[in-house]
């Protein structure tokens, strides 16, 4: 019996070895912790006495907004002695981000924070983490389905609505001529920031031109160059983000019309090159904050791991209007 048993395991081993050779991997695994897909069991909570490693998978730190998100997480986590955060950057590549999360799983992190590059390609690997019992916090962009612990993000449609209301009630109560500068076509934020805006703008304001600036400062500038030539009268430029609004401002300045036009942006990053400073320095009249959720993510992680409590499945972050009156204070508080 014994010998027979040993014999079959030898056969199995040699089959495994052949498979390894076939794969041209020079060494095969020491363990096979290849887990079934169990139901989502919450990680055993060790409370304040534990030590926790958090993996943060970022879609692309080359974008200032995402760099700020990482920075917010870093500074919030520094105040929680139990936390250590590891960062990965996918450089806008879905496949790289899948590997990043897999590598975090290998490192046996206790909690995953992810801001996905795109929803569908990241869904499977996020589910894999969640199925292993690792709490997953999804920031800014969603994944498909509901195999995650909590989604934290702002509501672009609502920001659009507030921008529309601000223009209709504060800037152009008696009507006027408006230019809309849109973000990258096909992207959800561009769609939602536009739709929300039109819901509350009302009928008095006339939209004389729409430009597509792909979120980029230089494209915003080019677009407004052309639009200003074609339209002798423009009162307000509504831009889907601050960099395009800054570009539009440069175009207006080149045409000598910057003092006659008000520029509205979105994002309001509290960084030196961001929208809050642009408002403070008078280039942009108003901008709406699009919070990164970094601070809130660490707070949620603390609730889950240290306080051993549940968090809401969805946390919508409120926006804030930034004008000349509060810009300086908001910037100071955000970096304090």
């Amino acid at each position: 019996m014994n010998r027979l048993g040993k014999g079959t395991s030898d056969v199995k081993r040699s089959i495994a070895a052949t498979a390894c050779l076939m794969l041209a991997v020079t060494a095969c695994g020491t363990t096979s912790q290849n887990s079934g897909k169990g139901p989502a069991t919450p990680a055993k909570c060790e409370g304040p006495g534990g030590k926790y490693v958090i993996g943060m998978s970022q879609a692309n730190v080359a974008e200032p907004y995402r760099q700020r998100m990482d920075d917010d997480i870093r500074s919030a986590a520094a105040k929680v002695p139990q936390f250590e955060v590891k960062f990965a950057d996918a450089a806008q590549d879905n496949a790289k981000q899948v590997s990043d999360v897999e590598n975090f799983l290998t490192q046996q992190i206790n909690l995953l924070i992810i801001s996905p590059n795109e929803a569908t390609p990241l869904t499977a690997v996020v589910k894999k983490a969640y199925d292993k019992g690792i709490p997953v916090l999804v920031l800014d962009r969603k994944v498909d389905g509901d195999a995650y612990t909590s989604f934290i993000g702002a509501d672009n449609r609502d920001i659009g609505r507030q921008a529309g209301k601000y223009v209709a009630e504060k800037l152009l109560p008696n009507g006027g001529k408006l230019v809309e500068l849109k973000g990258l076509p096909g992207s959800t934020p561009a769609q939602e920031r536009s739709e929300g805006f039109h819901e509350t703008l009302g009928s008095k304001v006339q939209i004389v031109a729409t430009g597509v600036g792909d979120w980029l400062r230089e494209k915003g500038q080019q677009q407004l160059d052309a639009i200003l030539k074609a339209n002798a009268e423009v009162d307000v430029v509504y831009s889907h983000n601050d960099p395009m609004a800054e570009g539009a401002y440069l175009a207006a300045k080149a045409a000598g019309r910057e003092s006659k036009i008000k520029f509205i942006g979105i994002d309001a990053l509290p960084i030196p090159s961001g929208g809050v400073k642009a408002v403070e320095q008078g280039r942009i009249s108003a901008t709406f904050t699009y919070p990164t959720g970094g601070k809130e993510a660490i707070a949620a992680a603390k609730t889950l791991l240290v306080d051993c409590k549940q968090v809401e499945k969805k946390q919508t972050l409120p926006t804030q209007l930034i004008t000349k009156e509060n810009a300086e204070r908001v910037y100071r508080e955000a970096n304090g």
Binding site: L23, V25, A27, G29, N34, N94, Q108
Partner: protein
């Protein structure tokens, strides 16, 4: 008697030649050992060596590996193919659109996408060989054209692949590309990469075509004079490269459940890096698929161990760049025959 020293000298050169042709293999072993040494540990277990992690490494390099094999053929004749990343994107989009929007079965969809890649490659080969345009220029143009086609085919947006039997759902079989086999351990893309590598190695070792390949890359004029169909060889290698880029695109779509027109951006550079680390000369005529496969695995292990140690993303780029330079520098030491 007087021949003796000559023979010995020749043997010595051969020995060094062999050593250098295994350069990437030694490199892989060195990186592998370093990875074990620097691997984070948990309860005494070396995390790098867990089977999950090792197969993650192979899975992660499978797409780059597949296009790098095609790239090896092109570089062996002294060419280059900059279009592979864009063709990968085009094929990923094509797979998604055909399966989801057009409700085709897996087999026809895959065949159509492979045919598109093959024809795209062959056309680039013809433009290069028949009109005598440098491969760099032709495939740079090809890169733009493939990206443009991918944007048009997808309306500029990622096409998500949902699985099921209903309309606008892809057959469930296609989702196998994102799965693992042998008890959920071995990723299917890794198997495809391995199988393809074996095929390509055998093909290069045994076929008459491969002799033509090395002849064209070694000395095109001499090859032409001795009756090698140089143009045909050139056209075929670009066809192979396009075909394999398309295959990688199909794998990409299956792994990520989406075809997006921006997929594969910059992959051509990773593939060229794998070929160079593998010891294939960019001037053509010298190199092997074995080298390329080890080169790709080396890059994969390097990526993995840097990530496991949470080396800053920017520093990672730096280290990878230095490894490529080191591999190329080693090639300069190689005896020229």
């Amino acid at each position: 008697m007087s021949l003796q020293p000559d023979v010995r000298a020749k043997r010595k050169v051969d020995w060094r030649e062999t050593l250098f042709s295994f350069q990437s293999f030694f490199g892989l072993i060195a990186v592998f050992v370093a990875a074990i040494v620097f691997s984070p540990r948990r309860n005494g277990e070396i995390l790098f060596l867990t089977s999950d992690n090792l197969f993650n490494v192979v899975r992660a390099v499978s797409e780059i590996g597949i296009i790098a094999i095609g790239m090896t053929f092109v570089i062996l004749v002294g060419g280059i193919d900059l279009s592979v990343g864009a063709v990968l994107g085009l094929s990923a989009v094509g797979s998604a659109v055909l399966l989801v929007h057009d409700d085709l079965g897996v087999v026809p969809a895959v065949l159509i996408v492979l045919a598109v890649g093959l024809v795209f490659g062959l056309l680039q080969g013809m433009a290069s060989a028949l009109f005598g345009i440098q491969a760099f220029i032709v495939t740079l143009a090809g890169l733009q054209i493939a990206r443009g086609l991918a944007r048009i085919w997808s309306d500029g947006q990622g096409v998500a692949i949902a699985y099921g039997d209903g309309p606008n759902e892809a057959p469930v079989t296609f989702s196998l590309l994102g799965e693992r086999t042998f008890g959920g351990v071995v990723p299917i893309p890794a198997l495809i990469f391995a199988g393809l590598a074996v095929l390509a190695i055998l093909f290069l070792r045994t076929s008459a075509f491969s002799r033509h390949l090395y002849a064209v890359g070694g000395n095109e004029k001499a090859a032409r004079l001795s009756g090698v169909p140089v143009n045909r060889v050139k056209i075929i290698v670009f066809g192979i490269s396009g075909l394999l880029a398309a295959l990688a695109g199909i794998v990409h779509a299956g792994q990520l459940n989406q075809g997006s027109p921006n997929d594969g951006a910059g992959y051509e550079l990773d593939a060229i890096a794998a070929v160079v680390i593998g010891g294939t000369a960019l001037t053509g005529g010298r190199g092997s698929v074995v080298g390329t496969v080890t080169g790709a695995l080396l890059l994969g292990v390097l990526n993995n161990i840097l990530a496991l140690n949470n080396i800053d993303a920017n520093v990672q780029l730096l280290i990878k760049g230095l490894v490529i330079v080191a591999a190329a520098a080693l090639q300069r030491l190689r005896p020229t025959s």
